[in-house]
Symmetry: C2
Subunit: 224 residues, 2 copies
Protein backbone atom coordinates (compact mmCIF):
# COMPACT_ATOMS: atom_id res chain seq x y z
CA UNK A 1 0.00 0.00 0.00
CA UNK A 2 1.22 3.44 -0.94
CA UNK A 3 -0.30 6.62 0.48
CA UNK A 4 -1.23 8.93 -2.40
CA UNK A 5 -3.40 11.43 -0.49
CA UNK A 6 -3.20 12.81 3.04
CA UNK A 7 -6.42 14.20 4.50
CA UNK A 8 -5.66 16.49 7.40
CA UNK A 9 -7.85 18.36 9.83
CA UNK A 10 -6.75 21.93 10.66
CA UNK A 11 -7.79 23.09 14.16
CA UNK A 12 -6.02 21.08 16.87
CA UNK A 13 -4.18 19.01 14.25
CA UNK A 14 -2.00 21.41 12.23
CA UNK A 15 -1.85 23.86 15.13
CA UNK A 16 0.56 23.98 18.09
CA UNK A 17 -2.02 22.40 20.38
CA UNK A 18 -5.73 21.78 20.73
CA UNK A 19 -7.49 25.10 21.37
CA UNK A 20 -4.62 26.99 19.69
CA UNK A 21 -4.92 28.78 16.34
CA UNK A 22 -1.16 28.97 15.82
CA UNK A 23 -0.10 26.91 12.80
CA UNK A 24 2.75 24.51 13.57
CA UNK A 25 5.23 25.52 10.88
CA UNK A 26 7.22 22.28 11.11
CA UNK A 27 4.06 20.32 10.34
CA UNK A 28 3.51 22.56 7.30
CA UNK A 29 7.08 22.02 6.17
CA UNK A 30 6.67 18.23 6.55
CA UNK A 31 3.45 18.31 4.51
CA UNK A 32 5.22 20.32 1.80
CA UNK A 33 7.91 17.63 1.69
CA UNK A 34 5.15 15.04 1.23
CA UNK A 35 3.76 17.15 -1.64
CA UNK A 36 7.25 17.31 -3.18
CA UNK A 37 7.29 13.50 -3.11
CA UNK A 38 4.00 13.37 -5.02
CA UNK A 39 1.63 12.88 -2.09
CA UNK A 40 -1.35 15.22 -2.33
CA UNK A 41 -2.41 17.02 0.85
CA UNK A 42 -6.07 17.97 1.39
CA UNK A 43 -7.45 20.25 4.13
CA UNK A 44 -10.62 18.86 5.77
CA UNK A 45 -12.06 21.30 8.28
CA UNK A 46 -15.08 22.96 9.81
CA UNK A 47 -13.81 26.36 8.67
CA UNK A 48 -15.40 28.39 5.88
CA UNK A 49 -14.32 27.96 2.26
CA UNK A 50 -12.47 31.30 1.77
CA UNK A 51 -10.41 30.81 4.95
CA UNK A 52 -9.43 27.26 3.94
CA UNK A 53 -8.87 28.07 0.27
CA UNK A 54 -6.58 30.94 1.32
CA UNK A 55 -4.55 28.66 3.59
CA UNK A 56 -4.52 25.89 0.96
CA UNK A 57 -3.13 28.25 -1.70
CA UNK A 58 -0.50 29.88 0.52
CA UNK A 59 0.60 26.65 2.22
CA UNK A 60 1.09 25.03 -1.18
CA UNK A 61 -1.14 21.96 -0.98
CA UNK A 62 -2.71 20.25 -4.02
CA UNK A 63 -5.18 17.59 -2.79
CA UNK A 64 -8.22 19.86 -2.50
CA UNK A 65 -10.28 21.36 0.29
CA UNK A 66 -13.24 19.99 2.24
CA UNK A 67 -14.78 23.04 3.93
CA UNK A 68 -17.81 23.78 6.12
CA UNK A 69 -17.37 20.55 8.07
CA UNK A 70 -17.83 18.36 4.98
CA UNK A 71 -20.50 20.39 3.18
CA UNK A 72 -18.38 21.98 0.42
CA UNK A 73 -15.57 20.44 -1.63
CA UNK A 74 -13.04 22.35 -3.74
CA UNK A 75 -10.59 20.89 -6.23
CA UNK A 76 -8.70 22.54 -9.11
CA UNK A 77 -10.99 25.50 -9.72
CA UNK A 78 -14.28 23.65 -9.11
CA UNK A 79 -16.64 23.79 -6.14
CA UNK A 80 -18.86 20.80 -5.30
CA UNK A 81 -21.73 21.39 -2.82
CA UNK A 82 -22.44 18.34 -0.65
CA UNK A 83 -25.16 19.39 1.85
CA UNK A 84 -28.54 21.07 1.71
CA UNK A 85 -28.07 24.83 2.31
CA UNK A 86 -29.18 25.92 5.78
CA UNK A 87 -31.76 28.77 5.79
CA UNK A 88 -30.53 31.91 7.60
CA UNK A 89 -33.69 31.90 9.78
CA UNK A 90 -32.72 28.52 11.26
CA UNK A 91 -29.20 29.80 12.00
CA UNK A 92 -30.64 32.83 13.81
CA UNK A 93 -33.23 30.75 15.67
CA UNK A 94 -30.53 28.35 16.92
CA UNK A 95 -28.25 31.22 17.96
CA UNK A 96 -30.99 33.07 19.86
CA UNK A 97 -32.68 30.01 21.41
CA UNK A 98 -29.43 28.76 22.94
CA UNK A 99 -27.83 32.19 23.48
CA UNK A 100 -24.76 31.40 21.37
CA UNK A 101 -22.19 33.63 19.69
CA UNK A 102 -21.91 33.27 15.91
CA UNK A 103 -18.51 32.64 14.29
CA UNK A 104 -17.17 35.64 12.34
CA UNK A 105 -16.99 33.22 9.40
CA UNK A 106 -20.77 32.61 9.26
CA UNK A 107 -21.08 35.49 6.79
CA UNK A 108 -19.04 33.38 4.35
CA UNK A 109 -20.90 30.09 4.84
CA UNK A 110 -23.86 28.51 3.11
CA UNK A 111 -24.34 24.98 4.49
CA UNK A 112 -22.65 24.74 7.87
CA UNK A 113 -22.58 27.41 10.58
CA UNK A 114 -20.36 27.79 13.63
CA UNK A 115 -21.10 28.98 17.16
CA UNK A 116 -19.41 29.25 20.53
CA UNK A 117 -19.22 27.95 23.19
CA UNK A 118 -18.51 24.59 21.48
CA UNK A 119 -20.70 22.54 23.80
CA UNK A 120 -23.72 20.46 22.68
CA UNK A 121 -26.61 20.02 25.12
CA UNK A 122 -29.48 17.52 24.96
CA UNK A 123 -31.90 20.36 24.19
CA UNK A 124 -29.76 21.28 21.18
CA UNK A 125 -29.77 17.68 19.93
CA UNK A 126 -33.55 17.60 20.28
CA UNK A 127 -33.92 20.89 18.38
CA UNK A 128 -31.60 19.66 15.59
CA UNK A 129 -33.53 16.37 15.32
CA UNK A 130 -36.85 18.26 15.02
CA UNK A 131 -35.51 20.67 12.39
CA UNK A 132 -33.73 17.97 10.39
CA UNK A 133 -30.28 19.49 10.74
CA UNK A 134 -26.95 17.90 11.71
CA UNK A 135 -25.11 19.00 14.85
CA UNK A 136 -21.46 18.42 15.86
CA UNK A 137 -18.72 20.03 17.96
CA UNK A 138 -15.06 20.26 16.96
CA UNK A 139 -13.93 21.61 20.31
CA UNK A 140 -13.37 24.97 18.56
CA UNK A 141 -16.94 25.53 17.44
CA UNK A 142 -20.40 24.02 17.58
CA UNK A 143 -21.59 23.27 14.03
CA UNK A 144 -25.09 22.97 12.64
CA UNK A 145 -25.53 22.09 8.97
CA UNK A 146 -27.90 20.88 6.31
CA UNK A 147 -28.01 17.11 5.69
CA UNK A 148 -26.01 15.00 5.47
CA UNK A 149 -23.43 17.20 7.30
CA UNK A 150 -20.18 15.92 8.79
CA UNK A 151 -16.78 15.36 7.20
CA UNK A 152 -17.62 11.88 5.86
CA UNK A 153 -19.82 13.02 2.96
CA UNK A 154 -17.31 15.71 1.93
CA UNK A 155 -14.36 13.32 2.05
CA UNK A 156 -16.24 10.73 -0.06
CA UNK A 157 -16.98 13.42 -2.66
CA UNK A 158 -13.34 14.59 -2.70
CA UNK A 159 -11.93 11.06 -3.11
CA UNK A 160 -14.40 10.52 -5.92
CA UNK A 161 -13.29 13.73 -7.67
CA UNK A 162 -9.62 12.79 -7.13
CA UNK A 163 -10.27 9.26 -8.37
CA UNK A 164 -8.40 7.79 -5.40
CA UNK A 165 -9.33 4.65 -3.48
CA UNK A 166 -9.75 4.69 0.31
CA UNK A 167 -6.85 2.28 0.79
CA UNK A 168 -4.44 4.83 -0.76
CA UNK A 169 -5.51 7.54 1.66
CA UNK A 170 -4.20 8.51 5.09
CA UNK A 171 -6.28 10.70 7.42
CA UNK A 172 -5.13 12.53 10.53
CA UNK A 173 -7.14 14.40 13.13
CA UNK A 174 -7.72 15.26 16.77
CA UNK A 175 -11.44 15.45 17.52
CA UNK A 176 -14.71 13.53 17.33
CA UNK A 177 -15.62 15.45 14.15
CA UNK A 178 -12.72 13.61 12.46
CA UNK A 179 -14.14 10.11 13.14
CA UNK A 180 -16.09 9.98 9.82
CA UNK A 181 -12.97 11.11 7.92
CA UNK A 182 -10.74 8.48 9.54
CA UNK A 183 -13.29 5.73 8.93
CA UNK A 184 -12.99 6.29 5.17
CA UNK A 185 -9.18 6.20 5.05
CA UNK A 186 -6.92 3.16 4.82
CA UNK A 187 -4.40 4.70 7.23
CA UNK A 188 -6.16 6.21 10.26
CA UNK A 189 -4.06 8.41 12.50
CA UNK A 190 -4.83 10.28 15.72
CA UNK A 191 -2.51 12.85 17.31
CA UNK A 192 -1.37 12.13 20.88
CA UNK A 193 -3.83 14.60 22.40
CA UNK A 194 -6.85 13.41 20.38
CA UNK A 195 -10.29 12.60 21.78
CA UNK A 196 -10.50 9.04 23.10
CA UNK A 197 -13.28 8.13 20.66
CA UNK A 198 -11.09 9.19 17.73
CA UNK A 199 -8.18 7.12 19.06
CA UNK A 200 -10.48 4.08 19.09
CA UNK A 201 -11.10 4.49 15.34
CA UNK A 202 -7.42 5.12 14.55
CA UNK A 203 -4.96 2.40 13.40
CA UNK A 204 -2.38 4.18 15.48
CA UNK A 205 -1.99 7.11 17.81
CA UNK A 206 1.12 9.29 17.53
CA UNK A 207 3.56 9.97 20.35
CA UNK A 208 3.37 13.72 19.86
CA UNK A 209 0.47 16.14 20.08
CA UNK A 210 -1.20 18.21 17.32
CA UNK A 211 1.25 19.66 14.73
CA UNK A 212 4.25 17.89 16.22
CA UNK A 213 2.31 14.66 15.78
CA UNK A 214 1.62 15.50 12.13
CA UNK A 215 5.35 16.05 11.57
CA UNK A 216 6.07 12.73 13.35
CA UNK A 217 3.61 10.94 11.04
CA UNK A 218 4.77 12.57 7.79
CA UNK A 219 8.43 11.97 8.63
CA UNK A 220 7.73 8.26 9.17
CA UNK A 221 5.70 8.13 5.95
CA UNK A 222 8.23 9.88 3.70
CA UNK A 223 11.19 7.98 5.16
CA UNK A 224 9.78 4.68 3.97
CA UNK B 1 13.55 55.18 17.12
CA UNK B 2 12.04 51.84 18.01
CA UNK B 3 9.86 49.86 15.60
CA UNK B 4 6.61 48.93 17.35
CA UNK B 5 4.60 47.82 14.32
CA UNK B 6 5.58 46.04 11.10
CA UNK B 7 3.24 46.48 8.15
CA UNK B 8 3.79 43.74 5.60
CA UNK B 9 2.36 43.07 2.19
CA UNK B 10 1.50 39.42 1.43
CA UNK B 11 1.74 38.52 -2.30
CA UNK B 12 5.33 38.75 -3.55
CA UNK B 13 6.54 39.82 -0.11
CA UNK B 14 5.80 36.95 2.31
CA UNK B 15 5.87 34.42 -0.54
CA UNK B 16 8.84 32.54 -2.05
CA UNK B 17 8.98 34.93 -5.00
CA UNK B 18 6.90 37.45 -6.93
CA UNK B 19 4.14 35.63 -8.78
CA UNK B 20 4.29 32.74 -6.28
CA UNK B 21 1.55 31.95 -3.74
CA UNK B 22 3.81 29.78 -1.59
CA UNK B 23 4.31 31.33 1.86
CA UNK B 24 7.98 31.58 2.82
CA UNK B 25 7.91 29.77 6.18
CA UNK B 26 11.21 31.28 7.35
CA UNK B 27 9.75 34.75 6.88
CA UNK B 28 6.73 33.69 8.97
CA UNK B 29 9.01 32.32 11.67
CA UNK B 30 10.99 35.58 11.72
CA UNK B 31 7.78 37.61 12.04
CA UNK B 32 6.65 35.40 14.92
CA UNK B 33 9.98 36.12 16.65
CA UNK B 34 9.29 39.83 16.18
CA UNK B 35 5.83 39.31 17.75
CA UNK B 36 7.47 37.48 20.67
CA UNK B 37 9.66 40.57 21.20
CA UNK B 38 6.57 42.78 21.39
CA UNK B 39 6.54 44.07 17.80
CA UNK B 40 3.05 43.85 16.30
CA UNK B 41 2.77 42.48 12.75
CA UNK B 42 -0.05 43.67 10.46
CA UNK B 43 -1.02 42.16 7.08
CA UNK B 44 -1.70 44.81 4.42
CA UNK B 45 -2.91 43.24 1.19
CA UNK B 46 -5.23 43.35 -1.79
CA UNK B 47 -6.77 40.04 -0.71
CA UNK B 48 -10.28 39.69 0.71
CA UNK B 49 -10.95 39.98 4.43
CA UNK B 50 -11.75 36.28 5.20
CA UNK B 51 -8.60 35.06 3.43
CA UNK B 52 -6.41 37.56 5.30
CA UNK B 53 -8.15 37.15 8.65
CA UNK B 54 -7.67 33.38 8.35
CA UNK B 55 -3.95 33.75 7.63
CA UNK B 56 -3.60 36.40 10.36
CA UNK B 57 -5.16 34.10 12.98
CA UNK B 58 -3.24 30.98 11.99
CA UNK B 59 0.11 32.74 11.48
CA UNK B 60 -0.20 34.30 14.92
CA UNK B 61 0.05 38.03 14.21
CA UNK B 62 -1.45 40.76 16.40
CA UNK B 63 -1.14 44.11 14.59
CA UNK B 64 -4.36 43.91 12.61
CA UNK B 65 -5.35 43.42 8.99
CA UNK B 66 -5.76 45.88 6.14
CA UNK B 67 -7.75 44.00 3.49
CA UNK B 68 -9.29 44.75 0.08
CA UNK B 69 -6.27 46.85 -0.95
CA UNK B 70 -6.77 49.37 1.87
CA UNK B 71 -10.58 49.46 1.93
CA UNK B 72 -11.26 47.41 5.08
CA UNK B 73 -9.40 47.41 8.41
CA UNK B 74 -9.67 44.75 11.13
CA UNK B 75 -8.30 44.95 14.65
CA UNK B 76 -9.24 43.01 17.79
CA UNK B 77 -12.76 41.97 16.82
CA UNK B 78 -13.71 45.21 15.07
CA UNK B 79 -14.06 45.98 11.36
CA UNK B 80 -13.56 49.53 10.07
CA UNK B 81 -14.73 50.24 6.50
CA UNK B 82 -12.54 52.80 4.71
CA UNK B 83 -13.87 53.09 1.12
CA UNK B 84 -17.22 53.62 -0.58
CA UNK B 85 -18.71 50.20 -1.45
CA UNK B 86 -18.50 49.40 -5.17
CA UNK B 87 -21.87 48.52 -6.78
CA UNK B 88 -21.94 45.02 -8.29
CA UNK B 89 -23.13 46.46 -11.64
CA UNK B 90 -19.89 48.45 -11.98
CA UNK B 91 -17.84 45.33 -11.21
CA UNK B 92 -19.69 43.38 -13.92
CA UNK B 93 -19.47 46.24 -16.42
CA UNK B 94 -15.69 46.50 -15.91
CA UNK B 95 -15.24 42.73 -16.22
CA UNK B 96 -17.30 42.46 -19.42
CA UNK B 97 -16.05 45.66 -21.11
CA UNK B 98 -12.40 44.63 -20.76
CA UNK B 99 -12.93 40.85 -21.02
CA UNK B 100 -11.37 40.12 -17.64
CA UNK B 101 -11.58 37.13 -15.31
CA UNK B 102 -12.92 37.82 -11.82
CA UNK B 103 -10.97 36.70 -8.74
CA UNK B 104 -12.60 33.81 -6.86
CA UNK B 105 -12.48 36.12 -3.84
CA UNK B 106 -14.82 38.74 -5.36
CA UNK B 107 -17.77 36.94 -3.77
CA UNK B 108 -16.30 37.87 -0.38
CA UNK B 109 -15.52 41.52 -1.17
CA UNK B 110 -17.49 44.72 -0.77
CA UNK B 111 -15.23 47.67 -1.66
CA UNK B 112 -12.38 46.41 -3.83
CA UNK B 113 -12.56 43.78 -6.57
CA UNK B 114 -9.83 41.79 -8.29
CA UNK B 115 -9.41 40.69 -11.90
CA UNK B 116 -6.84 39.02 -14.10
CA UNK B 117 -4.76 39.56 -16.17
CA UNK B 118 -3.20 42.17 -13.84
CA UNK B 119 -2.49 44.72 -16.56
CA UNK B 120 -3.94 48.27 -16.65
CA UNK B 121 -4.59 49.87 -20.04
CA UNK B 122 -5.23 53.56 -20.84
CA UNK B 123 -8.84 52.69 -21.69
CA UNK B 124 -9.26 51.19 -18.22
CA UNK B 125 -7.84 54.32 -16.60
CA UNK B 126 -10.24 56.46 -18.62
CA UNK B 127 -13.21 54.25 -17.61
CA UNK B 128 -12.20 54.38 -13.93
CA UNK B 129 -11.82 58.16 -14.08
CA UNK B 130 -15.30 58.54 -15.62
CA UNK B 131 -16.92 56.22 -13.05
CA UNK B 132 -15.09 57.75 -10.08
CA UNK B 133 -13.41 54.51 -9.02
CA UNK B 134 -9.76 53.82 -8.12
CA UNK B 135 -7.67 51.42 -10.20
CA UNK B 136 -4.35 49.72 -9.33
CA UNK B 137 -2.39 46.55 -10.16
CA UNK B 138 -0.44 44.46 -7.65
CA UNK B 139 1.10 42.23 -10.29
CA UNK B 140 -1.17 39.43 -8.98
CA UNK B 141 -4.48 41.14 -9.73
CA UNK B 142 -5.95 44.27 -11.20
CA UNK B 143 -7.98 46.10 -8.53
CA UNK B 144 -10.88 48.51 -8.85
CA UNK B 145 -12.37 50.01 -5.70
CA UNK B 146 -14.56 52.73 -4.29
CA UNK B 147 -12.80 55.95 -3.21
CA UNK B 148 -10.34 56.59 -1.76
CA UNK B 149 -8.94 53.08 -2.55
CA UNK B 150 -5.31 52.09 -2.16
CA UNK B 151 -3.35 50.89 0.86
CA UNK B 152 -2.61 54.43 2.16
CA UNK B 153 -6.09 55.15 3.54
CA UNK B 154 -6.33 51.72 5.19
CA UNK B 155 -2.90 51.99 6.78
CA UNK B 156 -3.71 55.48 8.16
CA UNK B 157 -6.90 54.09 9.69
CA UNK B 158 -5.06 51.11 11.23
CA UNK B 159 -2.30 53.26 12.77
CA UNK B 160 -5.01 55.52 14.16
CA UNK B 161 -6.81 52.54 15.72
CA UNK B 162 -3.51 51.18 17.08
CA UNK B 163 -2.55 54.63 18.42
CA UNK B 164 0.90 54.32 16.87
CA UNK B 165 2.89 57.11 15.23
CA UNK B 166 4.31 56.73 11.71
CA UNK B 167 7.89 57.00 12.98
CA UNK B 168 7.43 53.83 15.06
CA UNK B 169 6.28 51.84 12.04
CA UNK B 170 8.22 49.78 9.48
CA UNK B 171 6.62 48.81 6.17
CA UNK B 172 7.80 46.20 3.69
CA UNK B 173 6.57 45.40 0.22
CA UNK B 174 7.35 44.48 -3.37
CA UNK B 175 5.00 46.28 -5.76
CA UNK B 176 3.72 49.71 -6.80
CA UNK B 177 0.56 49.12 -4.71
CA UNK B 178 2.84 49.27 -1.63
CA UNK B 179 4.10 52.82 -2.35
CA UNK B 180 1.32 54.50 -0.31
CA UNK B 181 1.98 52.13 2.61
CA UNK B 182 5.74 52.79 2.60
CA UNK B 183 5.23 56.55 2.38
CA UNK B 184 3.39 56.51 5.73
CA UNK B 185 6.04 54.46 7.60
CA UNK B 186 9.19 55.73 9.29
CA UNK B 187 11.17 52.71 8.10
CA UNK B 188 10.49 51.99 4.41
CA UNK B 189 11.75 48.69 3.07
CA UNK B 190 11.66 47.09 -0.38
CA UNK B 191 12.55 43.47 -1.10
CA UNK B 192 15.38 42.89 -3.61
CA UNK B 193 12.99 42.00 -6.44
CA UNK B 194 10.62 44.96 -5.85
CA UNK B 195 9.35 47.35 -8.54
CA UNK B 196 11.80 50.17 -9.26
CA UNK B 197 9.25 52.82 -8.26
CA UNK B 198 8.85 51.17 -4.84
CA UNK B 199 12.62 51.05 -4.35
CA UNK B 200 12.72 54.80 -5.00
CA UNK B 201 10.35 55.39 -2.04
CA UNK B 202 12.20 52.94 0.24
CA UNK B 203 14.88 53.94 2.77
CA UNK B 204 16.63 50.76 1.87
CA UNK B 205 16.34 47.79 -0.43
CA UNK B 206 17.14 44.33 0.89
CA UNK B 207 19.77 41.99 -0.58
CA UNK B 208 17.30 39.10 -0.79
CA UNK B 209 14.03 38.71 -2.66
CA UNK B 210 10.46 38.36 -1.32
CA UNK B 211 10.17 36.20 1.86
CA UNK B 212 13.93 35.75 2.18
CA UNK B 213 14.17 39.54 2.16
CA UNK B 214 11.55 39.79 4.93
CA UNK B 215 13.58 37.34 7.04
CA UNK B 216 16.74 39.39 6.31
CA UNK B 217 14.99 42.56 7.48
CA UNK B 218 13.39 41.08 10.61
CA UNK B 219 16.65 39.41 11.64
CA UNK B 220 18.48 42.76 11.40
CA UNK B 221 15.67 44.46 13.32
CA UNK B 222 15.43 41.98 16.18
CA UNK B 223 19.24 41.65 16.52
CA UNK B 224 19.54 45.36 17.40
Amino acid sequence: MKVRVILTDLDGTLTEDRGSYLLNLEAIEALRKAEAKGIKVALVSGNSYPVLRGLYNYLGFSGGVVAENGCLVYYQGNIFPVCTPLPKVLVEEFRDKFKLKESWQNEYRRYDFGFTPPVITDDMRKWAEEKGVSIQSSGYALHISGRPGGKGAGVKKLLNVLGVKSEDVAAIGDSATDIEMLEIAGVRVAVANADENLKRVANFTLKLKSGDGVKEFIDSLTRE
